[in-house]
């Protein structure tokens, strides 16, 4: 998966064919009282229909979901941990010059409270199972950013005996950031890319 993979948008099904429309004049004249009773009678089914349509839309994620999607993508709490060199740039991104908090990115120390795992550095086999544990401790929905070449594919330590060649062998990765280490701008760009991705996927 590339850094910014545009999700496959399933085409909307064409509108169901409706029957031939009756011309206005051919509609039978209905007495006033009948209309009243008809309306009263049809209120419940109509309401039911409208409600079920709403429920259906909700199920498709069109009513509340955009709101939560907006909330989710605008307040990504990354897990506060540092693996290696990239962790220093990760910290610099929260410094005064870049200030990632502008985008609502606020590191939390506990995996329970974070929803973004930024793998900022070389992952060794010794830490691999801890990384998986941390990932599993994070509540859904959660995302992973592989920051830097080491997390992406082992980087300069790819051939080493103790290094996991790419964190995608352990956890599903959403965004890869190239660089060794990536500059803080690149990290911010990666986070914004993830926000775009979340919006496009409609998560």
């Amino acid at each position: 998966m590339g850094p910014v993979s545009t999700p496959v948008v399933t085409p909307r099904p064409p509108p169901a064919p409706t029957g031939p429309e009756l011309p206005m004049a051919s509609q039978p004249a209905v007495p006033f009282l009948e209309i009243e009773t008809l309306r009263a009678r049809e209120f419940l089914p109509a309401a039911k229909e409208a409600l079920s349509a709403m429920v259906q839309e909700q199920a498709q994620g069109k009513l509340i979901r955009p709101v939560f999607n907006w909330a989710g993508r605008n307040s990504l709490f990354p897990l506060h941990w540092g693996l290696a060199c990239c962790a220093i740039e990760f910290a610099a991104a929260f410094g005064a010059r870049w200030d990632a908090e502008r985008f609502g990115v606020l590191p939390r120390s506990s995996p329970r409270q974070s929803d973004l795992l930024i793998v900022n550095g070389t992952v060794t086999w010794k830490v691999a199972h801890k990384l998986i544990t941390l990932y599993e401790q994070m509540p859904e929905p959660k995302w992973v950013i592989a920051m830097g070449n080491c997390a992406t594919g082992g980087g300069p330590f790819r051939t080493a005996y103790s290094v996991v060649p790419g964190v995608n062998k352990l956890v599903p990765v959403d965004v890869y950031i190239a660089g060794c280490p990536p500059r803080p701008e690149a990290l911010l760009d990666g986070i914004l890319t993830l926000e775009t991705l979340i919006r496009e996927r409609g998560e």
Binding site: V67, F68, A71, N74, S75, R102, F103, G104, S110
Partner: protein, 375 residues
């Protein structure tokens, strides 16, 4: 005669019930418009208004702190969600709302879920007790100050319950620290409040504020203000005393194992308590919604002027809390307890003596007034 929030909701409910009742025949109509039903509905409406207002205020307080902290740190804080990040905390809250709810393995289900909820609820109850402006409160409670402090001190229990039941060593340590700290600082806070009560002659927060129309209590009771302020810092677990959540050693303290909505409860309740603490400081020492007489009347007589000045003072007090947070390191548990028991309590006792002296001094002919002990 100021319009109280309570009377507003009373008017709304009687209007509503009168309108609904008018289409019904007599027995129903009479029942609907009877005082009891109207009052019941009025209380509900009142609570709803209060809840919304206080929640918005709390969330604004979080925004205020984040922006202010950012400024202290040479950066800007939340910027891109809403204008100047105003919507940032709403986004945070909604996001936490949709995170999935979970429970760590071998955590105690009852404590794990009831702890944060009770913490949140007991913190929110306080909004119903504190008056906001002259006449703007739920009802006149003669002992509202005592009630407020009693409800305020529920928190360590629920923190400890949730910390214990989340089956984590950091949580447990944080919970124990939190309980010890809050109990230790309950005492000086209560003693400092006694000084205020002596001077005001009442436990009613309304009366305490009215007593301050001539002079605010922070002047004669500066020692009590100091004790109360420090005690509130400890009760709110803010930075020199934020050991229970000490990020460096106890990951996130007692809420380490909490995520999603339960964590949002903790977070929100913390700031509710911060807001309540600032409100209490303003009510007890800074004259509540009253302004000194040299302030032009135009500035104190516009609609809702009382609330405006009250909230302004509250936010100013909170800004001092944030300032302290930005510039002080954290103390250690034993030092904190030593400060609490060995420095704060003697100071609080001293402040009681000072309050007594002030009351006596008011008898002097130069001041031309009589002591108002006991109203």
């Amino acid at each position: 005669m100021a319009t109280t929030l309570y009377s507003v909701s009373d008017a709304i409910s009687s209007l509503l019930l009168g309108a609904v009742g008018s289409i019904f025949p007599e027995p129903v109509h009479g029942w609907l418009t009877s005082t009891d039903v109207v009052t019941g509905l009025a209380v509900l409406i009142f609570c709803a208004i209060l809840l919304v207002a206080s929640m918005i205020n709390t969330i604004m307080l979080i925004w205020f702190e984040r922006k202010l902290l950012g400024r202290f740190m040479d950066r800007r804080g939340a910027m891109h969600v809403g204008y100047a990040g105003l919507l940032q905390n709403f986004a945070d809250g909604l996001k936490l709302f949709r995170k999935n709810t979970f429970m760590p393995r071998e955590a105690d289900r009852l404590g794990y879920f009831t702890g944060p909820t009770a913490y949140m609820v007991t913190s929110m109850i306080l909004f119903g007790i504190l008056p906001v402006s002259s006449g703007w409160n739920g009802g006149s409670l003669p002992l509202s100050l005592l009630l407020a402090l009693a409800v305020f001190s529920f928190a360590p229990l629920f923190i400890f319950v949730s910390a214990w039941s989340s089956n984590n060593k950091y949580s447990l340590l944080g919970g124990m620290r939190s309980a010890a700290q809050m109990i230790a600082y309950e005492v000086p806070i209560l003693l400092a409040v006694v000084a205020v009560v002596i001077l005001a002659g009442s436990f009613d927060l309304n009366t305490i504020v009215l007593e301050q129309q001539n002079y605010w209590f922070w002047g004669p009771l500066v020692v009590a203000l100091f004790v109360f302020f420090v005690g509130m810092l400890a009760e709110m677990e803010r930075i020199p005393f934020d050991l229970p959540e000490a990020e460096a050693e106890l990951v996130e303290g007692w809420n380490t194992e909490y995520g999603g909505m339960l964590f949002a409860f903790f977070m929100l309740a913390d700031y509710v308590r911060a807001l309540i603490g600032s409100l209490l400081v303003v009510l007890l020492f800074l004259g509540g919604w009253t302004m000194p007489s040299y302030v032009p009347t135009a500035l104190t007589s516009f609609p809702l002027a009382g609330i405006f000045w009250f909230m302004l003072k509250t936010y100013a007090v909170f800004a001092i809390f944030v300032w302290i947070r930005a510039s002080l390191p954290r103390v250690r548990t034993d030092q904190l307890l030593r400060i609490g028991w060995m420095r704060m309590i003697p100071l609080a006792l001293l402040s009681i003596v000072l309050a007594g002296l002030v009351v006596l001094a008011r008898c002097l002919p130069v001041f031309g007034c009589v002591p108002t002990l006991g109203g």
